[in-house]
Amino acid sequence: MTTEVGPETEVKKESEQLGADAAKEKHEEATESQENQKSEKTLSEETQSSPSSPALATQSSPSSQKKEKDPSEGKGISRFIPPWLKKQKSYTLVEPKDEAKKKPVEERQAVEERESQLPEDMAQPKGNLEEATIESQQEAKADDKEEEKHSVSSSDTQPAKEDNKEIEVEKVADEQEEKEKVEEKRETKEVQTAEIKMEKAPQKAPKKIKTVPCKVMLLDGTEYSCDLEKRAKGQVLFDKVCEQLNLLEKDYFGLLLRENSDQKNWLDSSKEIKRQIRSLPWLFTFNVKFYPPDPSQLTEDITRYFLCLQLRQDIASGRLPCSFVTHALLGSYTLQAELGDYDSEEHNNHYISEFQFAPNQTKEMEDKVVELHKTHRGLTPAEADSHFLENAKRLSMYGVDLHHAKDSEGVDIMLGVCANGLLIYKDRLRINRFAWPKILKISYKRSNFYIKVRPAELEQFESTIGFKLPNHRAAKRLWKVCVEHHTFYRLVSPEQPPKAKFLTLGSKFRYSGRTQAQTRQASNLIDRPAPYFERTSSKRVSRSLDGAPVGTTDQSLLRDFSATTVGPAGDMVFDGEAVGQTKLKNGEGRDEDGSPTKIPQLELTQDEKNNSLRVNGENIYVRHSNLMLEDLDKTQDDLLKHQASISELKRNFMESTPEPRPNEWEKRRITPLSLQTQGSSHETLNVVEEKKQAEVGIEDTVVIDEINRGKMQAVSDAGETRKVEHVSKKDSSSLSSDSSSSSSSSSESEDEVVGEYQPHHRAAEDIIREEQEENEDAKRKEECATKVIQSVETVQEGSKVTVEHTQVTAKALAQENAVAIKTAEKNVMEEGKQDLRAEDEEEQLRINGDVSHVDIDVVPQIICCSEPPVVKTEMVTISDATQRTEISTKEVPIVHTETKTITYESPQFDGSAGVDAGVLLSAQTITSESLSTTTTTHITKTVKGGVSETRIEKRIVITGDADIDHDQALAQAIKEAKEQHPDMSVTRVVVHKETELAEEGEE
């Protein structure tokens, strides 16, 4: 009961990373010293089961203790606060209880997990090792400094923090739904166990085996019933059904959830059914999932028969449109297959009326069917089926899975996923088409679906095309379908779930079944006499089922449209890429990890709206894709260049950083999902996760921005998200799959806000996601964005606490031109001013968030975004090949700049707060300038509680136009700052970016 998913996950991860020893060590440590960070972590994890929030509460405010008791408080800001923010004291109080209990469990599970997940881990050994190392380091540090409230915030420590954070999130979620808590927890645990079992060996046997009644509507209209173990995965049921049907070539088929008859949700066979369906009994429909492009290549007649049944349903329901003549022809083959040769005596005039060949069947059509039936004399049922399929497969909509969407102008269009790629329809007209080889990346964010396509012949640059889906779930569903279709038809073998890559966020869903190539290969090995099967009549009586169970599309569409965006996540955008940049900016890989406080989030949200407004209005749905445009866009050009430089930056950063962070980021994505699945209260969890994601999204935005303009934006909140996902790292593959599978449930769908899939493998750096926000507010464009990076480092030496506060103000001018220059000058002159501004921002942060700058003794840093990052995007749009000519490339990238401030802060010390509290010993300010940077160093020494503290605040103003790589300059500045004060640590980085908006024309 007490064991929470979160903890397990964490344990797993750690254990994986460190290896058995490490895991063990970790646990031991935790046991030994409750106070050390490790224990903290454990605590937080454990806390889930019991009053989870206490720690949080403590952090956020004195009243926090109440929170412990009052679950409702968990909903407050506190839940957003990273676990590590909690005061150690509070930990101590809380920790002891659960820890002891949990440990054993955790360990065990960890071991299991480790074993089971090893293969996956192998893929990312590097990252894990590093992480492990980091963790261990952190532990050590934690021990030393625990007593002191100011923990050292070394970059290394972050991983641990991240874990904590994840846990905390979960915890919070739990709190919110206290009622269900107990029950759910239990469930959660079970689930996890089940997973483990599935993957490895059932170490913990389920206590009770419950069965669930399950019904599957088969293609012939009959229903198959069975009882399934409650924790059975989809594959179990699917295999049962195929066995019942005597079907060997089953990879073309799948089970649709009948729960939502209006949506075409496929049961993920790799995940537990119960996570994907909510209602009882479990109702499914057996359907063709991947239509074989050439049915004649199927090995067995029985397979073709089922395909025929599916197509007859498709045709009769109107999902597969065909002409009058084709209706008649296909109908005649149906008659031949089911009735045999035409018999004038047996087949009177009315026999045909019992069949349904078309949505609107007329007497004329029936007459034609009969006429044609007569001509088929001698055809065996199998031959008739083959003829049927040969004709059906040529229908233009054969095997096309349609999804409603809107183009940039809000015009209703349809996206059709098929074996060859993605088709875009407006009404019944095909207006564009993207073959799989042309698509570089498929992603979704919120309710937007994006494809990144290769440059056309005469183009040099890739373009991204976005579509608006009715809601997030629809976007995710489409994304999954695309991933599956691409994998099935284009790949030889399924792609492994994504490894932790730099900057990857979102769903890790991948198609896990066999590909067409594999299934064909397998089919060749089929060695059995052709199975006998009875062709049931497709008379109308049985047909009544057609529309309802199977043909969900139309209804779903309607619903989807009416439905609004789901969940809190809807407002926010997230992307993985942003994260990477953040790192760069920080200079220290670790700094970014800081967990975002709630306040930042809130602010972000608002800002995002505003920002997005701009972005959205013009950018989001660009009219026509650039795809076919032959003219190169300057802006694009610039964008690419910038992109490249950013990539370099990232690389450099990575190199300089001891441990690669990227992996963690990726992992982070997954984690949220896992949490959900595992977490007891799905909804709560989702919410939390979504918010996190939102933060991430912001970062993305930033990245985008940078890419486009070379302007720097501050990224911050990602930290929290990352942590969460970080925990799940190990699990990621399994977890991710779970989450995706659970899509049927609302909770799941909401989890993964972002999904990314790259049909072609490319270097991580190359992947730049362009994301946009859609907000409706219209914000005027600001002309300047000031970027201030403020980093505070605290080093504890004995009783002496040194805080270094580095503030870097980077001013990125939008672009060349006089304007930019002007701005630059201004910046220099206004340096002091900016400082003030930055300060103000910080203050605001606190004010807004109450919690944002909580005093924390824990190592991690808090990242606050005072202003939400502005999303600037190059946009995308609907690909209407027909109109492409009209579209000018210039329209695409629109960047408006604004002022943003992002603060990365280590929890321990609130810079200003700490200073205030103590006695000021001395203060001095030093200013130095170089070509593009102006550094102002402000050193204050204070004595506080007998501890002397030196705080260095550096304000670095980076001024320049597009020619300067601001990111690099910033990274360099931070690096230098660190080198100058090796004994200090950065506790806070505030990036304040002021960018001048360049008119598009200028660019």
Partner: protein
């Protein structure tokens, strides 16, 4: 069999033809026929001779059953029957021409097609316009040029009419019709002009199609409008513009070794934007079923 079965083999049914509908040219053509830009005076007598030759090839040389509709002096463009109907297999879509002055031309066409027992679909939507000259049927799918004469709605109706086939739209900017610079020159072979607009349109079509077509690029856009037929006993037949008119393009066609090449002069008609395909509607009646 009817239906798609005839389309099996991926466009091999393309060009199969048993009947053709043509219409005589009215004397009002030289003066009143629509034209994109003022050009040379049409020599009516010569135009008539060219048209007679054209019909003669279809009728005598290729053995098609040709329905010759009488000219209507009040309809100066009536010789360009292609714009009045799109026939695919057993179904004929009677269009709603983009030029209001030509709307009455459909009446005679409709009667002619009815006489052939085709399934007639009429475009009654008053928001729709479609000229047959904007419809390129490749044997596998339709491309519909969105031009001054053809709009989206017209294309939609065409898509509704021929549901078996994908219908993709292609923007047409500088030309009267999509087929002003392209046509099918064989199964899977698209003849395309060399102008930028033509090449761009081809790219669009290539992008939109699941199928890869071969292309036959000719120097002259107008020459890219040719008539491909698959006549039993004669094989691939290609009616193309005469070397006297477009010598360079004719050379390209002459490289088609598998085709029976029939050069046809169409000089006068082209002055009023009439190309080879414009002057006939080809129908393949496989049976009376």
């Amino acid at each position: 069999m009817a239906g798609l079965s005839s389309g099996s083999g991926g466009g091999s049914s393309l060009g199969l033809c048993s009947h053709a509908v043509v219409r005589a040219l009215p004397e009002s053509l030289p003066q009143q026929a629509l034209r994109i830009e003022k050009g040379k005076e049409v020599d009516f007598a010569r135009a008539e001779r060219e048209h007679q030759l054209y019909v003669g090839v279809l009728k005598s040389k290729l053995g098609l059953q040709v329905l010759e509709l009488p000219a209507d002096e009040s309809l100066p463009d009536c010789v360009f029957v292609e714009d009045m109907a799109v026939v695919c297999e057993e179904t004929a879509l009677i269009t709603r021409p983009g030029a209001p002055s030509r709307r009455k031309e459909v009446d005679a066409m409709k009667r002619a097609l009815e006489s052939l027992n085709l399934n007639i679909v009429e475009m009654t939507d008053e928001n729709a316009t479609l000229d047959g000259g904007d419809v390129l049927f490749t044997g596998r799918e339709f491309f519909v040029g969105l031009s001054k004469r053809t709009n989206q709605r017209g294309a939609e109706i065409l898509a509704d009419t021929f549901k078996d086939y994908a219908v993709s739209t292609v923007p047409v900017y500088d030309s009267l019709h999509l087929k002003s610079f392209c046509s099918m020159a064989g199964p899977n072979l698209i003849a395309i002009g060399s102008t930028e607009a033509a090449q761009k349109a081809l790219k669009t079509m290539q992008q939109m199609s699941d199928h890869r077509y071969d292309k036959l690029t000719v120097p002259d856009d107008a020459a890219a409008n040719c008539i491909y037929l698959n006549i039993p006993g004669k094989g691939h037949v290609l009616l193309h513009r005469a070397p006297e008119e477009y010598p360079e393009s004719a050379k390209v066609f002459e490289k088609l070794k598998d085709h029976m090449l029939i050069p046809i002069a169409h000089t006068e008609m082209e002055k009023v934007d009439g190309l080879l395909t414009c002057c006939s509607v080809l129908i393949n009646k496989t049976s009376e079923l």
